[in-house]
Symmetry: D2
Subunit: 338 residues, 4 copies
């Protein structure tokens, strides 16, 4: 890391900082500039040295050189991680699609949804049984009953089940029904939950928090990886910005940016990313074109009857159309899709 001293640092200050850096087991190189003195500290181990030095009175700022994540990094493992659950394949040239309703609402709704998703060509089925809702007065999900309906839908169709787990004590139960555990955006930094899913032998789909930086996102993945679970899928679902014409702002550059830094697969959720059904198809096609390893799409047999997120849900016909358009682009770019 680079330690930039405040203007007018005396030789005593420089010596003192050098000593502190060396006491951390690092090697210090002092560079005296025309207006500022900086010290390069070599041998950083990511153990908080940066914070400690930044707190020193004589220090203006500390500039890290290394990325703070390790296991998620391309520098540790260069071949792409491919995540599989039943017929769903995410990564390594395969664009896996997970579709389905926001919430599990009833047996009829779920079986119908599953059949429609299957028909569309997608290989994963989403549906929330435990629903994190902004208001305590909104529908909170069918809970374990919902998980049973999801499992029944898998039995019917062979689709892999992707569903959210909200709190550590539910991890075991949710994992007993689901094929992929989803961590929602609100819980991206719920570290006890991340550690709990890190101990399970099921893939984890980790959604980016709406104000998370790339480093924070990868470090959240690192919490899961660090517990021994290497099957992590990163999901871009939009960030909060000043834009209010869409529900969130969907920054697709996340896909190629992460591709250069991590071996983990990256999927996109254009349903939450836009919040508007008519924008989902073009943003799905764009996601495939940007190199995404998968899509997470909300579809409801009848969006205007949905108990949650109807405004952003595709109809079955819109899902089929979206899949067709994506397939065309995936074919053109020689990627496997579905």
């Amino acid at each position: 890391m680079i330690v930039v001293l405040k203007p007018g640092a005396t030789q005593n200050t420089v010596d003192d900082m050098t000593r502190r850096i060396e006491e951390m087991g690092l090697k210090a190189h002092v560079i005296v500039g025309t207006e500022r003195t900086v010290i390069a500290a070599v041998g950083e181990k990511r153990n908080g040295e940066q914070e400690t030095l930044a707190a020193c009175d004589a220090v203006d700022k500390v500039v890290p050189i290394l990325a703070p994540y390790k296991i998620a990094s391309c520098e540790i493992k260069s071949e792409p991680t491919v995540v599989r659950a039943l017929d769903l394949v995410i990564g390594g040239g395969n664009v896996g699609v997970i579709a389905g309703p926001c919430s599990v609402e009833s047996e009829e709704q779920m079986m119908l949804s599953a059949a429609q998703v299957k028909e569309s060509g997608a290989k994963g089925l989403r549906g929330g049984a435990f629903k994190p809702r902004t208001s305590p007065y909104s529908f909170q999900g069918l809970k374990e009953e919902g998980l049973k309906l999801l499992a029944a839908a898998r039995d019917l169709t062979g689709l892999a089940i992707v569903t959210e787990v909200m709190t550590p004590e539910h991890v075991e139960m949710v994992a007993s029904y689901a094929d992929v555990l989803q961590i929602g955006a609100r819980n991206m930094q719920n570290y006890h939950l991340l550690q709990a899913v890190g101990e399970v032998d099921k893939p984890v789909l980790l959604k980016r928090g709406p104000s998370a930086t790339m480093d924070e996102f990868l470090l959240a993945a690192e919490y899961v990886l660090d517990q021994g679970n290497s099957q992590v899928v990163l999901c871009e679902r939009g960030i909060r910005t000043f834009e209010s014409h869409t529900r969130f702002t969907l920054p697709l550059a996340t896909v190629p940016y992460l591709r250069e830094r991590t071996h983990l697969p990256i999927v996109v959720d254009p349903s939450h990313g836009t919040g508007v059904a008519s924008l989902v198809a073009p943003m799905s096609v764009a996601s495939v074109a940007a190199g995404a390893d998968g899509l997470l799409l909300e579809m409801h047999p009848n969006p205007s009857e949905a108990l949650s997120d109807g405004a952003q849900s595709l109809t079955p016909e819109q899902l089929a159309d979206t899949m067709t358009r994506c397939q065309v682009v995936a074919d053109a770019l020689e990627m496997s899709f579905g």
Copy 2:
């Protein structure tokens, strides 16, 4: 709520929407404008009708009229809620101050900190025993051992202990040591945790998430209030914006804005809100001037030795100076301070 139809809605569409609104038990008023037709739906109960209507094909957008929160609202309870813990009084003309280190690090550090905080005139002592850290490789706190040191510091000084709880299963344990339970910004929408602290008979200090809107913030409080715990303190600690010269952007207008809408007290955390020690004193004084009911301040006996957040920690001398400057303004504005 106001349901705005898309351009060119036919009479059939208007009739259909009117019927749907009335099936929800609401009264529909159709207003035919020069370019658009809108339907006012009267009798809203905050049960998700807005989402359902927004998902209808014929609907352009739905504009809510009512605030989505109830118990937190001034319209339900107009006198200000005053939260007390030992000698700490927050709200109702009292500006309560909570100060202390980011993390509990050792007995020596904690006893020294407590004495310095006491000396400064603050009535609450902060310190993290369970630390949510962005990186799994950073110091994660002393856990229950840290809670014991906090309790010992209270025994020594009489200061009220404010400390964070990170996961539902720890609530009982943390509540057995602490006087005020803090919910961190990363957990503002961890609903199981909010419900768990809602069931405890201890005040809750709820930090605003860095990308939370005012409605989301008040609805998070509503999760706690809805479980029966009425002792909730709202804490503004900065939001994530494009500004990078400070750690977060501290929007003090939150204080008077919330004052007009909720009876709950509002405190400000200028330490996280700026991330820079030299900015904490002026922003503390400004918070008092803006009408805040309290301050949450990081202080460390020796910031450059701190295991976390040293860059934003005041020294004991800086804390004393900050308290003096705030006292002067509180006196001028005839508020009780400390």
Copy 3:
């Protein structure tokens, strides 16, 4: 528009507001809800009535129903506007590509760039002669000398010249050399400049300001259109958000969102939108897939010698590769490209 009154409005207040609305020549419909009274005002003419009503003491907020722009709207003109300049065609199923260096630096650099752009298949040549630079100490462009080099490059290659004009008094001069006048993001709300280019008979490429909303963007276009110039191209070039791993955040949903509202063509600038050369190719392909009518790409014969924006400039080889990948997707989606 919908005028929402504050809680507890008396009949007198309602009568008073009704009178004021009717004095504006609007028709008022009063709707008494369970907690609030709202007044729908029909006949809005976009003449500032909304602001005036919002300022009344009794009013909580005013919700507009109509979009504030007119000439740019799909509701006025439904067929897409196609903008042409020499062989460059933007809109109506044609994806027009404009490429070239950030700044015109020398005759040699410009002639070489033009030949490389021509070779790549693009039909427009970009290059800044007047450069808005954040620092007064950075290279400010070759000014009229640069315009002459651009015109010479057009003579050599037949490419249409796209270049920025920064201030009203330069409009005539720049228009005498250029085929398309570019308004930079910093000047999106420089209204005297917008009016000045609105009086010229050359197409205008209008870049979105980094914090402009969609309505502000379309109203800026409206300033140009209102002067009689109907040849306006909208350009999404990224917005300022908390993300710092890219220079700006590039929200591609702008493309389909605007498509639903305006007949004007929409191009994307992934060079400024990401600020990182390696992200430009994937985001270009994604832009085409999202339905963009054109691309604006920075290319430099030797980026590491560029006087500005080198980090985001493609090499000639990277430009050729980007064009090939975009062509594949445009073909698959049956759009004309180049």
Copy 4:
């Protein structure tokens, strides 16, 4: 500056980069870390070297050490700049207040406003004659007629006139009537305009753009200073963030942050910063407490009749009350106010 090379840089690459840095007249210090090699380049002159190096293929990023502004910096001039216009004094312990309507609307409105502002104790009078409006269909100001009314109001009251200039060709005219030239937020990076006001012998009040960083803000001031006009006042008026409950987000930490870096005075505009009249008084008091050198306040004799910005305008009574509360805090902090 610090040049961070990409992982795996060879000795050849390091040698090549070293040579390039030295060709720029800088001294290169190579530091070989455990995972990365960095080169410290000493002797930076702020002439674009940073951009050029960042564009090199072998370079991951370049970290500047020096601030990019010079004349505005505390390191060049440590005593605070005090700006005076008639009885208005801004800076050096004086909190100068400028109040008045958003727009000059009529002689009656302006004379009444001026008398009320005078009565409140403020020493500056604001009012827009040239109005930058988001929509071409909104009131655009009375233009030169408005300037004449402002001059007449000065004759009546002795208040210093602060008014906006929007385009270079108006600078001379506006300067012939006004005492302080205001550059609006939309024009913060209108460099021709900045240079034009830099050549005039009148103080300039420069508003921060809603998405401008601190460096961009100070560099905009630098454009004015660099032309020889040293009388520049910086004005924080709110930034664009995801918050929509206020018109903008008002980050008061700007005040102490800039204080540490520049000798220029810093005023706050809580009217635009919040957009809500009831929030203006508490944020004004908070601004004084944060150390602001002045306030810019919107007041209208009758806000609900205002032609622009009525929702954020104080009534004359609210202005008087705001002044009283600010005076109390200014007295307590021993600053001169008014």
